[in-house]
Amino acid sequence: MSATQEAAEVAMPQRPGLLARLLREPAAALSLFLVVALLFAAICAPLLAPTDPYDNDLTKVMQPPGSPGLPLGADAQGRDMVTRLLYGLRVSLLMGFVAVLIGGGLGAVLGFLAAFYQRWLDGPVMRLVDIMLSFPAILVGLAIAAIFGPGIFSVVLALSVATIPLMARIVRGSALVVMRLDYIEAARATGMTDARLIWRHLAPNCLSAIFVFATLRFGQVILLGSALSFLGLGAQPPVPELGAMASEGRNFLFFAPHIAVVPCILIFIVVLAFNILGDALRDALDPRLRL
């Protein structure tokens, strides 16, 4: 270890860990707690739910919240709202997760390729990204639903496609900065393959940008997916999905508002939690990304 490096290490106090930095901000701590709780509820829905999501009891149709045995009431088919919400959360979060995973993954690959082979891939890839960005997500959703028919598959595909160009931009920007650093040149000099160079040396340094964007995007994707399902283009009844539940409840708004309002509130909480957490992660991980 060189003397200067040693001196730098002594002078630099240990930075607090990511979790500690996140928890300092009350809003961020609360959102982290909420996200963990929501993920837990979604994953363990079959264990937590008091009934089956398709079990309907016609004696309980449109029971308001607080009725005996039904803390959040029952829907128009007499199904327990708590159960429906738990399963709805599960379906909605899973749709969002798959979309961010696929769209974000493909986008990240494009971004890395554009930055790494800047000379001959950056132009074409970024043109492609520009073209994809000229279609707002809602139009992508409408077009895909028109081609493949309404359904969960169409929505997930649309959300993935709409995520690709955004992630590609973020990753390219972040990777271009890393590419200018000396250690990439040094690694290249050792003669490793491009693939290994990207995977082992370039990608890890872009992870925080990817992670921050994925978190923020997750909230947007959930919001958009629920909107498409609300329009009838996504999950079809009787599948419990939060947007579709709100859409079903809309028909009974004047008799039993809770059927529509409760799923809406849950969507709001989910999106809000991910948005706040994403902002906080950005501030904690990479202040340069602050917009």
Binding site: S134, P136, L142, A146, F230, L231, G232, A246, F254, L291
Partner: protein
């Protein structure tokens, strides 16, 4: 300036071509055969074949594409499978209400968003800043339909203050104004958050700039420093960013139109997709996409016209 504009226009052409190509392919992959539909359920195979030939459906794909482009240029987007009305006729009846709704939403949400963003930036870190930013995060997290349903339930149904289904008539009539209030509040409501946020960032940037310090140093009243020197310079990026959010606004408009039964293009598109009315779906998607591309192009060129730094970059 002119070169930049030309460059952007040249770039927009392949994108528009892509839209038309996707629209064409959309009709190729849908499960229904237009000739069978047009021939009706009792038609013999001979009749269907004749109609196929008549519509040019037996020609090779590139030939069909040329025919399709030719019809598009003449403003022929086909006929609805459901009610036999020309797609262009339905479109021209619905574009007005959609633009009306968007304009009414922007009319109140942009000024309010800019005001909130400026206040937040000026008193950065204060309680007011934190409150405004909290409202703005909540604004981008709330589902459009939630806002709409709440307004319908309280204002429309419980308090019986305003109508909540359909368009009341032209905007210069009382009924027209009353009918657009709730949809415009809904759509504008989700737009305030992004506008406030972008304004805050832009104003913060400008507030630390040299010319603002100079303005302060020469003793200008604070109000003038903020309004004339900071906000005015911040407005250029803000207006651009707002232009780039039109896609987001369009998404909100589709949902808002559905919630309030507003007779716009978004509702038409959703209805067409749900009823498998493919020509109508294709036409609405093509027109919405082209409109969006044109708006982006205009914003882009305007931005360069307003800010000389962009042109040189």
């Amino acid at each position: 300036m002119l070169r930049h504009a030309l460059h952007r226009i040249m770039l927009a052409f392949p994108v528009m071509f892509g839209v038309l190509l996707i629209g064409f392919l959309l009709m190729q992959v849908v499960p229904t055969d237009p000739a069978t539909v047009r021939a009706g359920p009792t038609a013999t195979p001979d009749v269907i074949a004749a109609i196929r030939a008549d519509l040019g459906l037996d020609a090779p794909l590139h030939h069909q594409f040329a025919l399709y482009m030719g019809r598009l240029v003449q403003g022929d987007l086909g006929v609805s499978i459901i009610n036999n009305v020309p797609v262009t006729q339905e479109l021209s009846a619905t574009i007005g209400p959609t633009l009306e709704l968007m304009a009414a939403s922007l009319f109140w949400s942009i000024p309010l968003g800019i005001l909130l963003g400026t206040l937040a930036a000026y008193w950065r870190g204060s309680l007011m800043d934190r409150c405004i930013m909290a409202v703005s995060v909540a604004g981008v997290s709330v589902p459009v339909f939630f806002l709409g349903l709440l307004l319908i339930w309280f204002v429309g149904f419980k308090w019986q203050l305003l109508p909540f289904t359909g368009r009341g008539g032209p905007l210069w009539t009382i009924d027209g104004i009353r009918a657009i209030i709730l949809p415009a509040i809904t759509l504008g409501g989700v737009f305030i958050g992004p506008v406030a946020r972008m304004t805050r960032t832009a104003v913060l940037d400008v507030l630390t700039a040299d010319h603002v310090r100079t303005a302060r140093a020469k003793g200008l009243p604070e109000r003038l420093v903020v309004l004339r020197h900071a906000l005015r310079n911040a407005l250029v990026p803000v207006i651009t960013l707002i232009g780039l959010q039109i896609g987001f606004l369009l998404g909100g408009a589709v949902v808002t139109e559905t919630v309030f039964a507003w007779p716009g293009v978004g509702r038409l598109a959703v209805g067409a997709i749900l009823s498998s009315d493919f020509p109508m779906a294709q036409g609405t998607i093509i027109v919405l996409s082209l409109g969006f591309i044109v708006v982006n192009l205009v914003v882009d060129v305007l931005y360069a016209a307003l800010d000389p730094r962009i042109r040189e970059a």
